[in-house]
């Protein structure tokens, strides 16, 4: 179900941030992460599966998340990802960077405030 006008292009860096943030609450598999992001953003952020899995593997290669295979609550085998310690640190860094960015953007767009 494509909501074309509501779709916002997600930059690669922001997808990483979203994934890391989502994993704070506990290990998830890929599908659950996408679903979570969609739900929490109230359907605004639709994660392209074409970007999700490359991003997950990239984050894993960088050592910020780790993975293992478990049985899902439905009884099927799935690959669960979770945050590592350095991932947690990276999350803090990314989040503050994001806050700086949005603050700067706001200053430019609404200088009067």
């Amino acid at each position: 179900m494509a909501h074309d006008n509501a779709r916002i292009e997600l930059l690669q860096g922001t997808l990483d941030l979203l994934i890391l943030r989502t994993l704070v609450f506990g290990p998830c598999h890929g599908h659950a992460i996408a679903r979570q992001i969609r739900r929490v953003s109230e359907e605004v952020l639709q994660v392209e599966t074409g970007s999700l899995y490359p991003a997950l593997h990239r984050l894993e290669a960088q050592g910020w998340i780790s993975s293992d295979w478990r049985i899902s609550d439905k009884g099927k085998r799935a690959k669960y990802y979770r945050l590592t310690r350095s991932g947690r640190k990276q999350l803090v860094v990314e989040q503050s960077r994001w806050d700086q960015l949005t603050a700067a953007m706001a200053r430019v767009l609404r200088p009067a405030d």
């Binding site: 599908h31 899995y53 490359p54 593997h57 290669a61 050592g63 295979w69 085998r77």
Partner: protein
Amino acid sequence: MLHRLRARLRSLWNWHRQESELDQEIQFHLSEEADERVAAGLSPDEARRTAKKDFGNVHSIRARTRDVWIWPWLQDVGQDARFAARLLVKDRWLTLAAVTVLALGIGANTAVFTIVNSVFIRGLPFHEPDRILRLWTQTQDERGARRPPSELTYEHWAEARSLSGLAGHVGSSINVSDEDLAPERVQGSYVTANLFRVLGQVPMLGRDFAAEDDQPGAEPVAIIGHRVWQNRYGSDPAVLGRTLKANGQVVTIIGVMPPDMRFPDDADIWLPRAQLPPRTFPYSFEAIGRLADRVTLEQARVELESITQRLAQAFPETNANLASYVWPYYEWTVDGEEIGLLFLLLQGTVPFVLLIACANVANLLLARSAHRAHEIAVRVSLGASRGRVVRQLLVESVLLALIAGLAGLGVAVAGLRWAEAATQTMADMPHWMAFTMDGTVFAFVAAVCLATGIIFGLAPALHVSKTDVNEVLKEGDRSGTGGLRARRWTRVLIVSEIALTLVLLAGAGFMMRSFFTLYRMNLGVDTSPLLTMQLFLPVPKYREVGLRTELFRQFAERLAGIHEIEASTLTTRTPAGGGAWRRLMIDGRPRPIDEEPPLVLTVWVGDGYFETLGVPLLQGRAFTWGDGRPGQQSAIVNRQFVAMHFGNEEPIGRRIMVESDDFPPGTFESPWLTIVGVSPDVRQRQLGREDDGEDRGVVYVPYRTSSPRSGALILRTRGDPAAVTALVRDAMRNVEPDLPVFNIQTMDELLAQQRWPFRVFGTMFTTFALIALVLVAIGLYAVTAYSVTQRTQEIGLRVALGAQPGQIQWLVLGQAVRQLAIGLPIGLAGAFGVGQLLQGAPNGGLLLQASPSDPLTLVSIVAVLVGTAVLACLWPARCAARLDPMVALRHE
């Protein structure tokens, strides 16, 4: 950063597992998505279908994920390699031709590099081998013989400050046996206790000899070599303390040497000097020394010489007239000749063969590239960058080169086996000069293959990658615009092949010429029935001239009694063995004041010299028993001498004096010699040593005049000379049992040894030149044949318009002729350079009686090359001339 690297490397191993895991992950995602949609109300089939559709392109997801794992290019290279392998199998004949050509080039280079590696690079397995010296004494008389030092000399030398150590060794065959194993005969060496310390080599197991081991009455011990340890004791580390019998004496093993240690001559066991069985006749110990720290060779030589001179004065009976002779152990000289240069020359030449091979294969690939233009165009249109295309083509050529490299190793092994067989005849071949391929050689082969692949692959790759895609994809394209550029590349390659081949031919040609000159050198003597051997009479037993003369007389009697020996004689130097240069003065002629008196070669010969050689005197008589005694000093001169100094005058009865060049004129009262006979010219100067000067005549003086201690015995035999050897040894032993007689060989063998460098290197250079010639012929044939194919329509047109077969042939050959015309002058310039190089080689150069611009050699090599080229192009030319115009015009 590091994480990424590690993850990528790990992915290289877990490749397949990661791929399948990803697939599972995607499957799981799809099934979850389908479940969700079913829960939202869709039918299961609909849910699955839409889930899949919305998921996106699975393949591209997989590809992008893969890019995260490893370097993408590595994967591509693997793909390229697989494709290249399939292509090579498909184009079987091309692959075979290319591999053969390259294998010859790579193989030749590998063989030469192995030799150069073992001679120059690998070096000796000692610590700082360039500081190890060999020390001899040298007599200051006519013969200038070099002998190992006597005990007295050795003891004094050992105290020299410029040596950090002096050690001695003497080799011997040793029977090794013990209770368990069969006895075997190995090469061994009796050494002073400090030998290994001087060499800088520690035993691998156990301990080195200590000074106490070398005392008389000490407990007998031995150090064994690695080979013995492996073969007899199965590399058992508990071998220390076991005993074995060496030449009947029980010894305890105290150490094992590492594998490379076989000093000095393939020795497998070392025993202390004190264990030498006693004998009347002193052993001759080779002396080895090591330069002390910060001492130069020159300083050591000066100090050792001054010690030797002091000894000569203090002990005149034993040490008079002795000088020291000190040389680094590692001088690569054979019989005093600098063979090292020849090896380097070989190493410099053989890459040319490889370059020619590369040019040939590049041409082959260029020819084939026209057929691949279509495939390349498709790749480019699908998005491959030029670099990508070039990379793929390079992978193909490197793969080809690697296959050729493997084949080349086979070629190299065969070549090395020949080289080893050829060098067996070399008397002085050091033991550490084994032509084995070690790690360095294999690394070299790998590097050469890589470089070769890139060299011959680059031109075609660059050329093909430039194809204009549109042109090629259009139907009906014939050779394409690439044809013109390809032809230019091809021409350049052929021209360079021709030039390089000419240079190689020049090297071969010059060496062959020198070689023939050597062989044609007429000695003036029929050498086939002659046997030679060297003698050395030891001091102190034979200090007096009278004793020596008497010994020689007894010899002559003994030998005369042997039926197979027709005649025998003594001489200080055999024919073509050189001689002693002496200043000449002729009685009745004024002594030259300002200019140097003429020099002449002098040889001391026995009575039956000319009879033994089978050379009748031209005038006068041979030496008899009385000649050479005081009051009857005589000489025989040769024809050249008479021509130079007497012209038409009668030489018999004239008196001459020959003075040693080492001393100022007038210091030695040399006797006046009366000429009693004139001999024909028998070559006395050594073969191949042109720096000995022109032929200035030879003077023969009776041996008895001084009965030098060392000399040669020449025997004229009936029948096979070699068969007489045992008889001679027996006869000598009956007269003097302890006398060393060595270097027993036929005169022909002796001469062959002198010619050795020319024979071996001449063969090598000629082989390379022939390989190059074959390669050029193949290259020219292939290129001409291909161009005929390309120009088939044009030729058909010409024939249809009335061209004669001869004209067609000329048309085809014309291209080859043009390339020859450019390549030959370049090659000739190179040939001239090679000639200069050969002439400048030490020891009178390697160019005997020929100049670098020798017209005969240059003309013949040009003729050979042109002839080969024409022959190679002839067949395609004739085929072209016989083309049926109807068929040709329709050819695509």
